[in-house]
Every structure is written in C-alpha cells, then in structure tokens.
Amino acid sequence: MSEQEIGIANAAGGIVVTPEGDIDMHRSPELRSALRGVNDQRPPRLVVNLAKVGYMDSSGLATLVECMRTAKGHKTEMILCGMNDRVRAIFDIARLDQFFIIVPTVDDIVGS
C-alpha cells in the first residue's frame, strides 16, 4: 500500500466511510468525491468514521460541511465518529462541533 485508502462499507444502519491518514488540501478532493458517491446512493445514514485520521485542516472541514448539506437535502442522517483529540480540536476552534452529530465510536451509533 503506497497511499492511504478510503474504506466504504455497509454497516451501522447505513454506509460507513473510513478515510485514512491526514485530510488536508492535497487529500480532501479524494474524500469529497468518495462522499459525493455515497450521497448519490441516498442511504438512510452516512457515518464518517475518523478513527484512522490523524490530522485534518479546514479543507477537510469544508468537505464534511458540504457533505452534511447534501445529506440533509436527501434526508440522510450524517454522523461523525472516531475523532482523536487533535481532530476534535479543529472542530472546536472552527465552532463547527455543534453542527454535526458526533459520537465517540462506531459502536456508539444506535441501531448499528
């Protein structure tokens, strides 16, 4: 494996997207296109599991915000989980923590 992957799986009562590695301006386009592909399927639930993401910048945030907007339009429930402290810190600095449903781990998602 020479670059990090984005895993996509049917689980947790919907589709779970698991990006790996740092999400920055170089890698967020890849995440954006993966999330668009999942939104096109209009699943009941879209979970972004950040457990394998060590770092995220504002381009990663913007990607998640765009995804949430599309999901809302589709009545898809979007949930974030698996954030480490460093990723959590940027949600806090950006004051966007209140705009997402955030749970500790995939296992904390009700109905999964």
């Binding site: 740092d22 920055d24 301006m25 170089h26 770092y55 910048d57 504002s58 381009s59 945030l61 913007a62 915000v65 765009e66 402290d85 460093r86 810190a89 940027i90 600095i93 950006a94 004051r95 966007l96 209140q98 705009f99």
Partner: protein, 165 residues
C-alpha cells in the same frame, strides 16, 4: 527577527508538500517546549497559512515559491527554548493586511476559517506587504510555563514511572 533563522525552507506551492512542512513545524515545536496537542495546532496554523497562499495568493499554481523561517522564541528560567517564531513569505498578490481579519467568532459558517484558525492558535499574528511583491505573515507562540523540575532532573523512580513535569 534580524538574527538568521535556525531553519529556513523554500518550497514550491504544491499541496503535496503541505504535510512535510507542517510535520517539520510540529516536530520542532515539540522540541521547543510544546505538548502534542499544541504542536498539532501550531502545525494547523502553518498549514492554513500555506493553503491560503496557494489558494488566494497563487490561484492554485503549484510551482511558485513559499518561504518558511523558524526561530526559537525565548528561553525559560533554565535556559531551554520555550516558544516558536514563524515567518511565512510569498511573492503572490498583495492584499491589505487589515483585510485579513478572519470572520467574526459568532458568524458560524464554513469557509473563512483559515485566518480565524491562525489568529485563534497563535499569540501574535502580523500580516504585512513585503517590499517588492508578496506578503509576509509573522507569528509567535509562547510555550506555557513548565512546572516541576527541569527535564534532566525529571527521571522518576516509582511503580508508575511517570514524571510530573
């Protein structure tokens, strides 16, 4: 500031190198007295500054120069470095420094985040026009006071084996 920087980097404005730049800065910050979470935030501020230059300054051209200079910003009472000073320069479009304020804190929306993050994370943030062309962003972050004994005395003996410093 006039003193030669301890590290001076010239890199091309390609997002592929963002991770290298921020890992260097985060790692140097670790050695200059910051803990992991603080280092990650300082690295984030540098990342956002570089992204803004690539996006707004160079309109995403990937082959333009960016310069990063790094100095230790001070010494604590035992003489160890304790703080970081960073200067990031480009030769891109010049903008009025006081236009770079960052969005209001209560104006919650995506976008307009980069400058806000930089100002939130760093202690001093000064944008300026360079003499001929391009912008200069000067930033300082002071390390929090260290409590407890100095590092070389911080070896502890006990079942837990963890120091307090």
């Amino acid at each position: 500031m006039d003193e030669r920087p301890h590290i001076h980097i010239e890199l091309v404005s390609d997002p592929i190198y963002l991770s290298g730049a921020r890992e260097l800065v985060g790692s140097v910050a670790r050695r200059l007295g910051f803990d992991d979470l603080q280092c990650s935030k300082i690295a984030l501020a540098v990342d956002e500054a570089l992204c803004n230059i690539i996006r707004h300054g160079y309109d995403r051209a990937a082959d333009r120069p960016i310069w990063i200079s790094v100095w230790p910003a001070g010494r604590d009472e035992s003489g160890r470095p304790s703080g970081i000073r960073l200067v990031i320069e480009d030769e891109a479009r010049q903008v009025e420094p006081n236009a770079l304020k960052g969005r209001e804190l209560d104006d919650v929306r995506p976008g307009g985040l980069g400058v806000h993050i930089i100002r939130e994370v760093m202690d001093d943030v000064v944008y300026a026009k360079r003499k001929d062309k391009g912008m200069r962003l000067s930033m300082v972050k002071h390390a929090p006071r260290r409590d407890g004994p100095g590092r070389t005395c911080s070896v502890t003996l006990g079942r837990d084996g963890e120091g307090s410093a």
